[in-house]
Symmetry: C2
Subunit: 390 residues, 2 copies
Amino acid sequence: MTQKHFTLLTTSGTARAGELHTSHGKVPTPVFLPVGSQATVKTLTPDDIKTLGFDMLLCNTYHLYLRPGIDVIKKMGGLHEFMAWDGAILTDSGGYQVFSLSPLCKITDEGAKFRSHIDGSEHFLTPELAVEYQEALGADIIMVLDECTAYSDKKEKVRRAMERTHRWAERCLKAHKSNKQALYAIVQGGMFPDLRQISAEYLTGLDFPGYAIGGLSVGEPKEITLPLVEQTAALLPEGKPRYLMGVGAPEDLIEGVARGIDIFDCALPTRVARNGALFTRKGRINIRRAAYSKLDKPIDPSCDCYTCRTFSAAYVSHLFRSEELLGLRLATVHNLRFIGNLMKDIRSSILDGFFKAFKEDFLTNYKTTNEQIRVEQKGKWLKGRGKEGT
Amino acid sequence: MTQKHFTLLTTSGTARAGELHTSHGKVPTPVFLPVGSQATVKTLTPDDIKTLGFDMLLCNTYHLYLRPGIDVIKKMGGLHEFMAWDGAILTDSGGYQVFSLSPLCKITDEGAKFRSHIDGSEHFLTPELAVEYQEALGADIIMVLDECTAYSDKKEKVRRAMERTHRWAERCLKAHKSNKQALYAIVQGGMFPDLRQISAEYLTGLDFPGYAIGGLSVGEPKEITLPLVEQTAALLPEGKPRYLMGVGAPEDLIEGVARGIDIFDCALPTRVARNGALFTRKGRINIRRAAYSKLDKPIDPSCDCYTCRTFSAAYVSHLFRSEELLGLRLATVHNLRFIGNLMKDIRSSILDGFFKAFKEDFLTNYKTTNEQIRVEQKGKWLKGRGKEGT
């Protein structure tokens, strides 16, 4: 990076407000990135995403490598051009998907051999190729290839994966040619505080412009996640952005910011939207419920999204009960606007020095004992709904 | 109707240009109505439909009666309010769906007993109820209850259904109270020119503000459809609008206008869009085909729709191959814009007196031997894709 990548503007306790500087504009932090795995945030156009107030989104290298292929996107002028998005993009390395989606995955020091979840074809991903693919896609922030471990993995396995992740991080750094992209390292170490410390210290010894915390939110209880986030974030350099991967529930975003995180991504807000679970300041509601089917008021009267400004809860409920595609779109618009507004409010409260009060107020109102959401898994599109974040 | 409902502006041969006057604005004719069966044109918001240039759309009383229920919509302030559409709406009577979708349908002179295709519950629809429901929905144009026959039905059956349709039309006329809505009659008579003549003459003897031609496009070859349209349209009063139900392929629209039709509706443009079949001036293309998957040009370079102005064919192809929901939306936008532009061009050519030349030119370029479209029928949403027009 020739240009300065991140400016820390102020802190409120351990919460931070800053700015990312990318080739596609400035991105205020803390920021949540909507997930557009296959070069599309499901149901939305790039104009919609701009209108919703987002400056950056995440795409998955694994998905785009398999379909339409890195070469196709490169030939189209890169990912921004291909999907007509002129804001910033972060791509992941594909590592997480290789481990979680591939029906077969064999890892050696050289790299990861895997099979496509689409057609079973065999592929090989190395740290060098992960960087090459991401440079070809042309994202503004790219990620090193890392080896992910599961919640239940034993310490020795986690340690070996962490050490490989470190070696791979160095190889990625070496392979990284473009100076238009910021390459982030990923701290691993599973659920083990001592490994997390080793990983954070090792990687911050290398000069990356940003650091991610990976391998969390993989099924472990939140009582474990939050202290690990707190501990790891505290070990990262103050002047560089910190990215907590795969976290996006409203209550987790605010807890993450409280622990010094600047960047989040997660498929949760858009995925649960397509299941009819909508965020309000009082918690998640299930729009399919009978109570909403005759409600002549917006989903959330205080919400300024297109859905709430235009339609009653009864109409949105009708769309879900009738399995109408517009329902998926209106719910996605609502949930993303909710998250976008939440991040803006969080940022203001940090800049104005009352983040702690804002957080307490939000969490008091936001009930995490949410209405039960019936998850439909019948159809083909529906099955596809779960894929984006994994 | 207290207000004048239709103005015939000019003709070019038998083709007509006019204007419908509704409580929700003026609608230039000839006009195509996008189908929004369940109070939504699949994937699109009302703003999208406005942006696409449409002034009127069609909703299905049968679907809305079953879900969310007429009472719910009435309580929400009517259908316009419920779906946030301030343009004009035409509702059908529900007759066609009762015959085609209900797993059981028993018709007597009194009305039609049928079962819901959703939960099997039993219902009874009479001409009076069809009018009452449509008045409660508050559409601008409403339809009489008619008895539809199939392509293969014998003449005696068709004659009996036609005669019942006539009796029902009189009952609808009697039951119709609101003067904000125009109630149209429906000419039946199947594939039999003499019955069509009887039906047209009988119904034009009653004073309806508009006349529809029903019972066509039900599986018969086009060589049969077009002469019947021509014959029937010629029997209808010049000063009243003529509505050909269930017709919407580009080549059929232009042939229908040539035979004096003013209004069309059909689920075809939106349904085939969701199968990846896109209209161009040269005919339908299948966007899934390999040829488009690397094409760095719009679907149709001469098209001014959002999809073509924003994305390459390769991107839209990628969305379909990846089963992404945005693909359904972008394809719907494209096909509706194509049809909307076609109707505008047709109208201009009538107003300027060169419709015949325009028609010949269009049909010479538009290949009806279209690329083969692979119809997916696997998922639940996909199954839902076929329902809207039936």
